[in-house]
């Protein structure tokens, strides 16, 4: 399927197309063409490095939203030799925007869950509600967290959503409660738990499955309290200021490491995960398994205590000695 081209990668893709065309002619031993090919390839490599070594936060947002990036079900397919999706929240319906299930990974059982977008396929994207989950999605995830705890198996979550769905039904059926309940559930889960921000980590809808022992993020993914567009329209009264908001919100993978919100950045193939989805999936598998192995070796009580401490210490504040306590009234 044709992939959309991002503005800043256009010159590179154009050059790569030229190289491809030229290769078509270079069947024989035409030295001139070989020479030209080498020149263009050097140029492409330099251009690639130039573009991707200094991406702006807004450009990263474009990459993180690229429909050609692997989706949750694809990451699960790479992580697990065998997996089975489970449906429904046992209450209202199944939510196709948040998938969950069981898997065997390197022979060991785990539960998985994640937001599922439809990529470039419009019909599929509509069916998946563009990865905007309803309360039922979060409650399905809750079922899986309970199973993880009950059977002592790890949980792995893949986060890729702009946020929980802002709609009438979502509010009627308690989207706030569903997310809030999950936060508490994840903070009571005794199993090892790894979350991976694979694309967009959008607000409470992302956090609703990501209160993990270890939070990983793909190189070009981001994790934010609000979309840059939403932030721009509130704080700048102008949604076209999204690029500025993307700067101000400090949500790129390297910012998040500094803030202590994620533990590790998973490098992406050059040009982004959509350029080589297979490679991206393999890397994610390796990094997740490495962390799971470490977490499995820990004492469950200790692991949970550390998870709680991890979230308790997030935040930056100061104490001002001048603000002395008031007299009791």
């Amino acid at each position: 399927m044709a992939q959309p081209v991002l503005e800043f990668e256009r010159p590179l893709l154009e050059l790569e197309r030229q190289i491809g065309d030229l290769r078509g002619f270079a069947e024989g031993e035409n030295l001139e063409i070989q020479e030209e090919l080498r020149r263009l390839e050097t140029k492409a490599a330099r251009m690639r490095h130039e573009i991707f070594s200094r991406l702006t936060p807004w450009q990263r947002v474009q990459l993180a939203r690229h429909p050609g990036r692997p989706n949750t079900l694809e990451y699960v397919a790479s992580l697990c030799e065998e997996s089975m999706e489970l449906a429904g929240d046992r209450n209202f319906r199944d939510d196709p925007a948040l998938v969950a299930g069981l898997g065997l990974s390197a022979g060991a059982p785990l539960v998985w869950m994640g937001h599922q977008k439809g990529g470039s396929d419009v019909k599929e994207n509509v069916r998946r509600n563009f990865g905007y989950a309803h309360p039922e999605g979060y409650r399905k995830a809750a079922r899986l967290f309970h199973m993880a705890g009950k059977f002592g198996v790890p949980a792995v979550a893949f986060v890729d959503t702009q946020g929980a769905y802002p709609g009438i039904g979502a509010e009627e059926r308690g989207i706030s409660e569903a997310i809030a309940r999950n936060l508490k559930t994840m903070l009571s889960l005794h199993s090892p738990f790894v979350a991976v921000i694979t694309g967009e980590g959008g607000s409470g809808g992302a956090l609703g499955i990501a209160v993990a022992d270890v939070v990983l993020i793909l190189e070009h993914a981001f994790y934010s309290v609000i979309t840059p567009e939403g932030c721009a329209s509130i704080l700048w009264s102008d949604s076209s200021k999204a690029p500025q908001a993307a700067e101000a919100l400090k949500f790129t993978s390297s910012d998040l490491i500094q803030l202590g919100v994620v533990e590790e950045i998973i490098p992406e193939p050059e040009g982004g995960a959509h350029r080589d989805p297979e490679a991206a999936r393999r890397t994610v598998r390796e990094v997740v398994l490495r962390h799971l192995a470490r977490l499995k070796a820990m004492d469950p009580e200790d692991r949970l205590r550390r998870r709680r401490e991890r979230f308790l210490k997030l935040g930056v504040f100061d104490t001002d000695p001048d603000l002395t306590p008031r007299e009791p009234r």
Binding site: A164, G167, R173, R181, V261, L312, L314, L323, R329
Partner: protein
């Protein structure tokens, strides 16, 4: 005078009223002109239509307590991102402190009601829309820790537009931070009572505020995750009447009771008596 001095003065001064200094005020519910002295007696609810005026934390606290000693008012934000949109976050904080006399959007402290001690947090929409940033999260966590150590109930009154964007993802993390304490209280069998006032939305609703063992809501308060405007834009249709109001949440099973402000104190008193009796029983795990 520096803002700090001004803030200090206000912290020690008289309780703030959200309303201007006039004697009369128009009810936002029915348009009736009301005498402010009367409103003090009705706890800032309209005697005609029961409209609940949004009131500051300082004004609200005595309405649900007999005694209250504030704690942790020295916890302040440091602008961790150096955030600037049309305004600088630092300036916004300064203005909010001057306007409210508060150090941030949550007033925390130790309270009693009918001789029952409890830990109380009251949010104040006047301070940057009651938004939850690192300071609100930390003060909540400290309240929770004390509730745990003393095995005293935690009561938090929410009034919040959600997470504080100016602290970026750190404000999002406060949702999880508050829930750490609630998970601990759950295990220890210590009650958490959540009071929802107008408005309670976003990350505040999607974290601690929705997790009370008992959830009370003031009448007609807007309570929800997404703001009504965002929803209307997304679905491109009119929202049903009463959508996201307390009564709507009651009907959909999301809150336990809608309680008139004048009934809040006796309601809370009953709950504190109930939990004082129930304390010591083993908690039923989730």
């Amino acid at each position: 005078m520096s803002w700090l001095q001004k803030t200090r003065e206000k912290l020690g001064g008289v309780p703030r009223r959200d309303m201007p200094g006039d004697l009369w005020i128009k009810c936002e519910g029915c348009g009736e002109i009301l005498y402010k002295k009367e409103l003090d007696k009705t706890l800032w609810t309209c005697p005609k239509c029961e409209y609940h005026f949004r009131i500051s934390a300082r004004l609200f606290t005595p309405m649900i307590t007999d005694t209250f000693v504030e704690t942790d008012q020295d916890v302040v934000s440091t602008d961790p991102l150096g955030f600037r949109a049309l305004k600088r976050y630092k300036d916004q904080l300064k203005q909010a402190r001057q306007k409210t006399g508060l150090s941030d959007a949550l007033v925390a402290g130790e309270a009693t009601l009918d001789s029952h001690p409890f830990l109380l947090g009251v949010m104040d929409f006047g301070f940057m829309g009651g938004s939850m940033g690192s300071v609100v999260g930390e003060k909540f966590a400290r309240l929770g820790r004390r509730a745990l150590e003393r095995r005293q109930p935690l009561v938090v009154s929410a009034q919040s537009g959600g997470a504080r964007m100016q602290e970026g993802v750190l404000s999002l993390m406060q949702m999880a931070k508050t829930c750490v304490r609630l998970a601990e209280l759950e295990e220890a069998g210590v009650p958490f009572i959540s009071i929802l006032t107008h408005p309670t939305t976003g990350g505040t609703t999607a974290s601690f505020a929705s997790l009370g063992d008992v959830i009370l809501a003031e009448p007609r308060a807007v309570i929800g995750f997404a703001g009504p405007r965002v929803i209307a834009q997304t679905i491109r249709q009119e929202l049903p009447p009463g959508f996201q109001r307390s009564e709507f949440l009651l009907e959909h099973g999301m809150v336990d009771r809608v309680v008139h402000r004048q009934a809040l104190k006796p309601t809370l008193s009953f709950l504190l008596r109930f939990f004082a009796q129930a304390r010591g029983q083993a908690a039923i795990g989730t």
